[in-house]
């Protein structure tokens, strides 16, 4: 247990140092543009998996949380010129509150009804933002980035490092939950909600905790996005593609361990970036769909499921 923790934090520190070193050594901007998107998807799918994986409540509202994060950042920047750290922290708080509200309204519903309610949420919030003139409305809004701070040479490099910190944060939270009594409770209620209740698990409260944490992380991941694109509009910030991609990444990676969504997001994120450069960004959705179907049929427990099965088979022979 203790040794695992040292290895985990060592790897996390090494990862951050590597990202920081890359921002200093690599002059070409493109890898950072691509890397930012992949890191952002890692945060989103790890966050999604806290409720969708551990608790088994499939959330189609990732784009709602992401978009709220984007617009929280814009609102604070436009109204008060808030620095990036404040934008992210505020987005996390708004996300936690939104997660709480959504949980309160929807977590008494089970299975498919919860998923439908989360789709509705995306539409309601997108409509609200579309009609909010201060935030640019349907036409979108341009953002002028503040000057970059040392030691970074470009703002995108800074954003990549910030998103890398969010990755470490999200993974650390997911890992803590997985190994603690919260994780065991969520796993129990995913397997059988009534049996969990009758074993003393406060199922509603645990689902709320998962929804709040998941929502906070998703919103935090969205907050720097407007700075990254220097532009935002409701149709792309609340694009349902986020919900579908994130769900696919988590399921393809496997949701029973925090490393699953990380692997899934890297695999799919890299594939999407390569396709966007070589063929077109439209073909992404097709590839995503095909991969999801292949995995649902061939490896319902995702990539980590395959690994575990392999290890079990080895153990037997």
């Amino acid at each position: 247990m203790k040794r695992g923790s040292i290895a985990f934090w060592g790897t996390a520190a090494l990862f951050l140092v590597a990202v920081l070193a890359a921002t200093q050594l690599v002059a070409n901007e493109y890898p950072f543009f691509a890397g930012y998107v992949i890191l952002q998807f890692i945060v989103l799918s790890v966050a999604w998996s806290i409720l969708g994986g551990y608790a088994g409540y499939v959330n189609f509202g990732t784009s709602a949380f992401f978009g709220v994060g984007v617009y929280t950042g814009i609102l604070l920047f436009k109204a008060a010129g808030a620095p990036l750290v404040v934008q992210i922290a505020a987005a996390a708080m708004v996300g936690a509150f939104l997660g709480f509200a959504v949980g309160l309204l929807t977590l008494r519903m089970q299975g498919i009804f919860f998923s439908i309610a989360t789709i509705a949420l995306t539409i309601v919030i997108e409509t609200t933002v579309t009609n909010w003139r201060f935030l640019g409305g349907a036409a979108g809004i341009q953002i002028q980035r503040p000057p970059v701070t040392a030691p970074f040479h470009s703002y995108v490099q800074l954003l990549v490092f910030v998103q890398a910190i969010l990755v470490v944060l999200a993974v650390a939270v997911a890992r803590y939950i997985q190994n603690s009594w919260i994780g065991r409770g969520l796993q129990a209620l995913r397997d059988d909600e009534l049996a969990a209740e009758c074993t003393g698990v406060p199922t509603l409260r645990l689902k709320m905790v998962a929804c709040v944490i998941s929502g906070a992380l998703m919103c935090a991941a969205g907050a720097p996005a407007a700075m990254y694109l220097q532009y935002a509009d409701p149709a792309s910030a609340f694009n349902l593609n986020y919900s579908v991609s994130v769900l696919a990444m988590a399921l393809i990676g496997g949701t029973s361990h925090w490393i699953g969504p990380v692997i899934g997001a890297i695999l799919l994120g890299v594939t999407q970036q390569l396709l966007a450069v070589t063929i077109s960004s439209e073909v992404n959705v097709l590839v995503l769909g095909v991969m999801l179907v292949v995995f649902v049929v061939a490896a319902p427990e995702g990539i980590i499921g395959l690994f575990r099965k392999g290890r079990r088979a080895e153990g037997k022979t």
Binding site: A196, E197, T199, G200, P202, T203
Partner: protein, 249 residues
């Protein structure tokens, strides 16, 4: 029953409990007291309301105020997990396990969420206490086995073990012997009698008559949601209405 001293409050009091589903009355004005330490058998034909009664006691179904009183307190407004923490544990007619976990992890869920000190105790402490219960139930060898690989009798024992891991005052066993062979029935029955010897009150729902007769100090028979007999096992068996409900004539 006539002159029970005031100090001897029943552990569980069901008072005028009626449960309707739409126009169907599943339980009709059921009242019964169960004393601490009692071995109580609950019988009745299929659909007579036995499991509905268990669901009302454990909290899966909500009922009218003060129809279920446990340890002198009205628990009708409490959700199931709070009732479990107060000391009501149950098994399910069709085993409902946490199938993605090992046997001992199933028990550790109970230990995690029902001990008042769960934040201070380490995972290892919970593992030890869960292991002790598995030993008692004769499942220690299966501790690290996946639940999906268990046999029927092992599943039944695991459900009872998980219920025991919540440290109950009242254990409700809902047909824990259904589908077991003769020797397995005796095995589970011996376990339940052993648990009752540790001053745990047990309500046993069962269709296997010799098991109910051997186990129970008192038996209650339900038919179509009504109590048709309650008392000594031999008296209940001799009751004409009970025989009619079971034999149909």
């Amino acid at each position: 029953m006539t002159s029970a001293p005031a100090a001897e409050l029943p552990l569980l009091r069901i008072g005028g409990l009626t449960k309707r589903f739409g126009g169907f009355t599943a339980l009709d004005n059921v009242s019964v007291d169960i004393k601490a330490g009692e071995r109580f058998g609950l019988i009745g034909p299929n659909g007579s309301g036995k499991t509905t009664l268990i669901n009302c006691i454990s909290g899966a179904f909500r009922t009218e105020p003060s129809t279920v009183i446990f340890g002198g307190e009205d628990i009708t407004r409490l959700p199931p997990h709070v009732r479990t923490r107060r000391g009501i544990a149950r098994s399910f007619q069709i085993p409902r396990t946490f199938r993605s976990m090992t046997v001992i992890e199933n028990l550790m869920v109970a230990a995690d969420f029902t001990s008042a000190t769960h934040l201070r105790l380490s995972t290892d402490d919970h593992r030890d206490s869960s292991m002790a219960i598995l030993q008692q139930m004769g499942l220690a060898a299966k501790a690290d086995a996946r639940v999906t690989g268990l046999s029927q009798v092992e599943l039944r024992k695991m459900e009872l073990a998980r219920a025991m891991a919540t440290r109950p005052k009242l254990l409700i066993s809902d047909e824990a012997m259904a589908g077991l062979s003769g020797s397995e029935v005796d095995e589970v029955l011996d376990l339940l009698i052993k648990l009752a010897g540790e001053s745990i009150t047990i309500i046993m729902i069962e269709h296997i008559m010799q098991a109910v007769m051997r186990f129970s100090e008192r038996i209650m028979c339900l038919d179509a949601g009504k109590i048709i007999a309650v008392g000594q096992p031999s008296d209940v068996m001799a009751n004409a209405r009970v025989q009619e409900a079971y034999l149909g004539t």
